[in-house]
């Protein structure tokens, strides 16, 4: 039985995605939760690259890990009442509920996925880099959502700035 490179890569990245995902469930400290999430998202980025979605893998790293996680860390820092190291005492009460629910959901989904019996093989073959094709699709077939999302980002940023801005006494909110 020969073990080829792609199989090893798959299991490495799958482990990197899944193990930290469960640590997000178990970790007691909110900062650790964020860092386990970071690891898990990197694993997903690796899986994208294995599947030939190179552009998505890089976007995942840039936007998710570079953007969203930094945002979450800022959120943690700005809402902590005590030095971060002390946050560990915040013990969660219902981890067991989480584990049981998660296990049930996984059992059901795995049964469904294996039950459906998806065939692999008729999909797009490895066609090299996807960036050109994605850019082309975004500006032709999918130009509508592409443009619409820019409006969304505009009002989300303005609205979020309005809501999060600290009030000055007497000023218009």
């Amino acid at each position: 039985m020969d073990i080829n490179m792609s199989t090893v890569m798959f299991f490495a990245f799958a482990l990197l995605a899944v193990f930290p995902a469960f640590m997000v469930l178990f970790a007691k400290d909110i900062v650790r939760v964020a860092f386990w999430l970071l690891a898990s998202l990197s694993g997903v980025a690796g899986l994208y690259i294995i599947m030939g979605a190179d552009f998505l893998g890089l976007t995942q790293v840039l936007v998710y890990i570079g953007g969203i996680l930094v945002l979450i860390l800022f959120g943690i820092m700005m809402t902590s009442k005590d030095p971060l190291l002390k946050r560990a005492r915040h013990v969660e009460r219902s981890v067991v509920t989480g584990i049981v629910t998660g296990a049930l959901v996984f059992a059901a989904l795995a049964a469904v996925i294996l039950g459906i019996g998806f065939e692999s093989g008729k999909g797009r073959a490895d066609g090299g880099a996807t960036t050109t094709a994605l850019g082309e699709a975004l500006l032709t077939d999918y130009i509508l959502p592409f443009e619409v999302v820019s409006v969304l980002l505009l009002f989300v940023l303005c609205g979020a700035a309005h809501v999060a801005r600290r009030r000055k006494e007497g000023a218009h909110a």
Binding site: V112, D141, Y142, L144, V148, L152, F155, C158, G159, A173
Partner: protein, 512 residues
Amino acid sequence: MGNDFSQTQDLISRGLAGFIPELVLSALVCVLLLADLFIRGVKPRTTAWIATIGLVLAGATLWPRLAASGEIFGWMQGGTQQGLLVTDRFAWFFQMFCLATALATLPMALDHAAFRARRMGEYHALVVAATLGMFMMAGAVNLLIAWLGIEFASMASYLATAFDKRDRRGSEGGIKYVIYGSVASGVMLYGLSLIYGMTGSLHYGAIAQQLQVSGASDLGLMTAALLVFGGFAYKMAAFPMHFWCPDVYEGAPTPFTAYLSVASKAAGFAVFVRFIAAFTTGEGPSFVAFGSVPFDASFGWPTLIAAAAALSMTVGNLAALWQTNVKRMLAWSSVAQAGYLLMAVAVYAAGRGRPSGGDLGPLIFYFIAYFFMNLGAFHVVTVIASRTGAQHVEDFNGLGRRAPWMAFGLTVCLLSLLGVPPTGGFTGKLQLLQTAVENHLVWLAVLAGINTAISAFYYFKLIRCMYLHENQAGLVTTGTTNAVLLALLVLPVLVLGLAFSPFIELSRSFGF
């Protein structure tokens, strides 16, 4: 991607020509955001006028689309267009509906106590943005656009709910809305990914065709249905994703609660009906087959929807019985209303396989009535609350003497929500019950009848407070604009109850 350049160019320019109302709304969002920045000391009235003009303009450009039909944007595949949005009478109705809701809640926002003497451009921009998202929801024929429209409307709603930063309940409602909302959206997304995996397409038409030609695993479709329904139910405020409703409705600024309870629900129903239409076409293997057989046979979309309808109305009405806060009571009442409306969707889904089935008239008619009665009720609550600070049922004591016209309007709207003749709510509910009975859903119709009886308790509790309980407080002055808006909302409720036949015909013509 296979398309030559001129064909693509043609698709985009034709798409843009059919997309003018949405472009107007996008421009309006930008103008409103800029108005706050560049007009020094901008008054709430100024931005409200800008918003009004923009919305009317969008309505005027939307009007000609009544005659349009066909899909816009997207790409050509095998000679047929796989569009992203569709322009037809059904979409037109719900788009006009959301536009009208945004317009009707504008004067309420001007009147809202917490909104006076503030920069309101951003609030109006958020409402317009939510409306734009609902435009996409109403016309979506592609899984990506349906989901994007839902998210678009949701994001604007989250922010508008938490807009009043001094109100602690607003922030609390907002955080609950966004957290539960993103969970619902994530779960739905997982379901959508399964559908994409099983059918290999995001386009509704292609999905329906794929299901008819080669079918798909029942188990897979069932799982996807359950997951996806979570997301839709969240937007419709129906069981099992209704629990956010009371907190968000209570926390949000009342004018926005009014907008949310009417427009958001309507758009949720629009996107949902279009979605299930793709899954219940004609006969064929898999889920499609469940659409054409009566309910006892097996699990399918109609069963799922009927169960959600039954639970929504029961849970909503039972919970509303215990509420003392008027906004919370109306929130649970709107969950119950979602149940009645879902009844029509269940009938629609069950009837798709039959030649006579698939009539959306009752749903549309009930929505027309719902627009007037629910907005009317919220209008009175906003006006009274911003003048007396009333929040609880007891605060409405003696309103029959203190503000006779407001009390009368609220009474008519509540009676209509309950379904008492001669109001639009009665005609609408009668049609819902009738079609349910005709389509082998007798148990659901009976349950709706029982629920109507239960709901009488809490609707009459408020009416009794207004007329039978004394309150020595002075008269409430309400102003001309509010009186006019009240008349515009309450009179149609009575018209729909008395001269209903042209409207029944009209609403039938909006189906697809």
